[in-house]
Symmetry: C2
Subunit: 238 residues, 2 copies
């Protein structure tokens, strides 16, 4: 058995140093984009079209798409709803195409689009995603969406949880320091995950905006088996 | 007393997100650039001129400067010596001007030059540097030189050791997730620092090249009180 290389990239700013056309890229934005995308597919959304800019988001709305779009936690005024996983309920999104634009999560999907596969990771689909990744027999780069090109604690901890599982499978090796760091951060966090996440700046930002009702949900393992994957610029369920 | 903001930037790739013309920037490259710079000043070097490119390094040598220069651990063939702290002995550098170019450490100094002050940090000058930083009453950004735009474990751990001291002074506050992460990594490492650093990719690289005689020295606290600071493109002792 050939062991594949596992890497973690803590910020989209450093993605070029990790990019590899043969790799599977896992995008993580725990609070809240990739948790919300998993929730949307659990609610039966047909496809999600990530759009990077506000201008693109407006154009998608004008073309008749349902639009989920926020910046810094605030819903764009022309959008149908924002970036909470609770917005993507079955009555709203089941069977629909949704255009989606967020502060940090959607940009990195476009950046990674040239890699072999781009999949969406969160606690919500952790077990199903890890099983699928192990079967791919490819190099894996877990990318943390972070916050405005900075490191985000909640994304690093989730990446560490995923890395621990992948390394325990025996199918991966690593020479990437971020994997060791993220695994140790997960180790520090896992016995009191909600308590640990209190330190995260994004935790405070969401509290300040009254948007923190979803924190517990976004840190819940295995709510769904869905694996959203990018195909020709659109996220669909594998 | 006004608390100042403390930030850590884990990779030069993300420095733009942290740059601030009013901030003191601390550059850390434990293995080996900033440890070697501290060792050089402890040996009485008059000034060190960081040069980013191989071409600039060659030009400095042709102008008659003593040249310390490496790429990926190997001494450039036209340089006088490389990047080990043991190269910067008093008999070689005392009273001299040295041009200096390394894979990761010198580029970020140029990148940060527009900030209020750029100082050189390592375990070797930790206590003296922390005391000076606390007196500045300015925002502080600790930048890890990393490795080819990636995260480096040994730099993050050293940044965490520094952050712990600065936060304990009561003079700083932080909303930067990297500060929490680095402090927790330092917490995981500090009871067996040499054992922990075994995980670092740069530890393996230096071993593979037979350059790891300096690992213990580079992780020794308070060998010197010197604080190298960038002044008009040259590092001098404060």
């Amino acid at each position: 058995m050939i062991q594949r290389n596992l890497e973690i990239c803590f910020t989209p700013a450093a993605f070029d140093a990790h990019a590899d056309s043969e790799a599977v890229v896992v995008v993580i934005d725990v609070l809240r984009a990739t948790s919300s995308i998993c929730a949307a597919f659990a609610s039966g959304v047909r496809e999600i079209i990530p759009v990077a800019t506000v201008e693109e988001a407006r154009a998608m709305k004008e073309q008749g798409y349902l639009l989920a779009a926020e910046r810094d936690g605030y819903v764009l005024d022309f959008a149908d709803f924002g970036n909470s996983p609770f917005n993507f309920s079955a009555d709203r999104v089941n069977g629909k195409s949704v255009a989606y634009s967020t502060t940090n999560g959607t940009g990195i999907m476009k950046q990674a689009a040239e890699c072999h596969d781009v999949v969406i990771g969160s606690y919500l689909n952790m077990s199903a995603l890890c099983s699928w990744i192990i079967d791919q027999q490819r190099k894996v780069v877990i990318v943390c969406a972070g916050w405005k090109r900075r490191f985000s604690l909640e994304d690093a901890v989730c990446a560490g949880a995923m890395a621990e599982r992948l390394m325990e499978s025996g199918r991966f090796t690593t020479i990437c320091d971020s994997v060791h760091a993220a695994t140790d951060l997960w180790g520090a966090a896992k016995n009191d995950l909600m308590g640990y996440i209190e330190k995260a700046a994004q935790r405070s930002r969401l509290r300040d905006k009254g948007l923190d009702d979803c924190i517990g949900y976004c840190h819940t393992f295995d709510v769904t088996d869905v694996i959203p994957v990018l195909r020709e610029g659109r996220l669909v369920a594998l």
